[in-house]
Symmetry: C2
């Protein structure tokens, strides 16, 4: 870390020049964001988008680092999530800016390149990879979650430079994979040694700062049926019915954990912070055969402070006990952990990083920064829990992330970019350069 | 048809010679059955097994007919089942025996070559395509349902010939496709003009005669979810939950129809003749996305006398009404009919064919022929309803058809073959040939 005393507050003129520079480059930023959305960077195919970002960072003069995630390097870490796919094309990209004279506080500007599947494309108004801008929103899978944020990180830096300033501390521009499934991309970046005095992750958070965040576990449950001809259906038992019995059992834990929400700081006011999502199901192979198997994928949330191991123990026990349900035919469900195995985190109040963000947000938005608790997974848990870095998850307004017609709000994105640009200048400190924007 | 007066009853000597001939060739019959089981004649890949049978029939001197099922030829028939796969390799094979002098009654010996999927192969004791004989059972997918029967048809004929007799009426040896999914193979054979005075189908029926049989409909139900990020799960709705709501609605019809069993002749004594099997389910594409869709396949039974159209109207209405369930999020399930669209049938008592079978069974088994009602689909409905032919579904003991370790009972198969051989001789009539078996 390079923690030093705070740089002097930005002057009004410096602030104005930086904000103007964001505006001046905003069309280019949108075009770049659209270019990024066109890459279908679904899991296992993030690499072409990463190569594009690599070039974009290198063109800015950053020192480049690109590596393939190696499971062996990270699997013994408690924050590791089990892997079920090939990492052949799972590359992280980090571009590092280093100042000619280092004075201020270092910064990681992080984002993830992976996006979730589109679902049936005919349910979209247009191709998920066609990032049209309509009525103030940019559409596309990943437009909000979170390619707009990845582009904002770069263009916020560009604005500071275009305004005529050189940041006075290292900045690590990270584009990581695997945020939507394990968090192993961020973990790999941490274990590669990247550390800083603060982290910003511009996830789509409705112009707010995330105060607390659930952990997430992914697991696959497989139940067995006893296949028979349907003429003797009663002699068999149906794995699809068995799956529903297992799902009901899990809903029991979900309800129990939600009932405990008042015992968890920052979750007192949320009725249902713990979502168990049955996200995928598959079973049987023939309409006229009692299905021999069924498996379903679950995403379960846990409170900060609960370890993945503790949560797993409860889930495993619940599914073992479910065997008492006659629909399971005496065979306990099998459970495999298949991705996220992640704790939640709380961003402790009062950090310099948060105070700086508050000031910058106020300058950009002309309104107070609000913070909130979000029941979704965030890579911030890696930096907060295992890196002890104040991590600010803060980003633009969005609609329907993970759904059809995902989109990001353009004006919100402009103001978020302004906040990040001011944060770079205020946090890292700046010195005048010869090249000036105006 | 060639309906004539009954041939004279077989003499004791004739009966004995035919029964002995079945025994004499039974090892060859088992080996042939094993050869047939080795073909993985799953739907859309029945053709190699059909070519094998083609050669086996041609070697017996039959006049051969092999044709690809053409949907256009059959789709306007009320017994047609909608097709969702390619018929590129869907061939029927029929070999016709014609006597040098035609006197007796003609006969169709029918069987189907298609088998259902194996399910997870690791749940089998051995490969589904490895037809071992262990402790008096032959194992393998299709061993019972119904390759043993297909082989029995040919070897019953062989026994009559080996015993020194020439059947006195035409016999059509049919191997049809699509029995497990639409019945379109048998329908195509009927519409190609094959008719006879009786039909035997040696399905695995526990050495009994099928008296009545349900009809079957296949349909696929697709429900829609509203995908969102799981952090806002409550704003979306889960298509997998919606699927269960639709399944529950269908279980309502199933219960209603079962409650009416006493109104249906031959079904009075069965508690649960109407099985709605949810045979396959698939939905969602990402654990952390509220699933946008889910679809499941249903096999529904109907009573004889209920048309497929009548049943469909009730199913469609039930699913339309299900939209009142909040789990469906206001969107009615979509239904597509995807296979069987078939009525059930009753084999009226007292036909000459049944009486002949009873006599032959008595000779072979030394016990009375029993009949029963089966709640599974049978191609017999094509011959009975649309061809007005007395159709005897009658075959060997089996275990776990459509399940793991499907198997057929060897001694049962031997006796069934004897019954069919005697039936050929008794029904078609015989004349002495020069070649004698003993």
């Amino acid at each position: 870390m390079t923690q030093t005393t705070s740089p002097p507050a930005l002057t009004e003129a410096q602030t104005r020049r930086i904000l103007q520079a964001v505006d001046a480059h905003f069309d280019a930023q949108l075009a770049f964001t659209q270019d990024l959305v066109r890459f279908p960077s679904l899991r296992e195919q993030e690499h072409t988008a990463q190569d594009f970002l690599y070039e974009a960072m290198r063109a800015r003069g950053f020192a480049m680092d690109r590596w393939k995630i190696d499971v062996k390097d990270i699997e013994s870490h408690p924050g590791f999530g089990p892997v079920t796919v090939s990492y052949e094309n799972a590359f992280n990209v980090v571009g590092t800016y280093r100042p000619s004279r280092q004075q201020g506080r270092s910064l990681i500007l992080n984002g993830h390149i992976d996006v979730v599947p589109t679902g049936p494309v005919d349910m979209w108004s247009r191709s998920p990879w066609d990032p049209a801008i309509i009525d103030g929103w940019m559409y596309g899978r990943g437009a909000a979650d979170m390619k707009a944020g990845l582009a904002a990180n770069l263009y916020a830096y560009d604005a500071v430079r275009a305004a005529g300033y050189e940041p006075a501390a290292p900045i690590y521009f990270q584009s990581v994979v695997e945020e939507e499934c394990t968090g192993n991309g961020a973990l790999s970046a941490l274990l590669r040694g990247y550390q800083a005095d603060a982290v910003i992750i511009p996830e789509p958070e409705e112009n707010m700062l995330v105060r607390a965040n659930v952990g997430v576990l992914w697991f696959k449950v497989r139940v067995q049926g006893h296949p028979t001809h349907t003429r003797e259906m009663a002699n068999g038992f149906n794995a699809i019915d068995a799956a529903y019995a297992a799902i009901e059992a899990l809903r029991g834990i979900e309800a129990k954990w939600n009932a405990e929400h008042h015992c968890h700081r920052h979750f007192e006011h949320l009725d249902h912070p713990i979502n168990f999502n049955i996200g995928k199901i598959e079973g049987g192979d023939w309409p006229s055969t009692v299905p021999p198997w069924c498996e379903f994928d679950v995403r379960a949330a846990i409170y900060p402070g609960t370890t993945a191991d503790e949560a797993r123990a409860q889930i495993d026990a619940c599914l073992r006990d479910a065997v008492a349900d006659p629909r399971l035919g005496g065979t306990p469900p099998q459970v495999a952990y298949t991705g996220f195995y992640a704790e939640g985190y709380v961003l402790e109040e009062g950090s310099d990083a948060e105070n700086t963000l508050r000031d910058c947000h106020q300058q950009a938005f002309k309104s107070e920064l609000e913070s909130f608790t979000t029941p979704g997974y965030l890579d911030a848990r890696v930096f907060v829990i295992y890196g002890d870095m104040p991590t600010l998850v803060y980003g633009p307004k969005s609609l329907d992330i993970h759904g059809f017609d995902e989109r990001v709000h353009i004006e919100s994105l402009r103001l978020i970019t302004k906040t990040i640009a001011l944060f770079i200048a205020q946090w890292c400190g700046i010195s005048e350069t010869n090249a000036q924007a105006d």
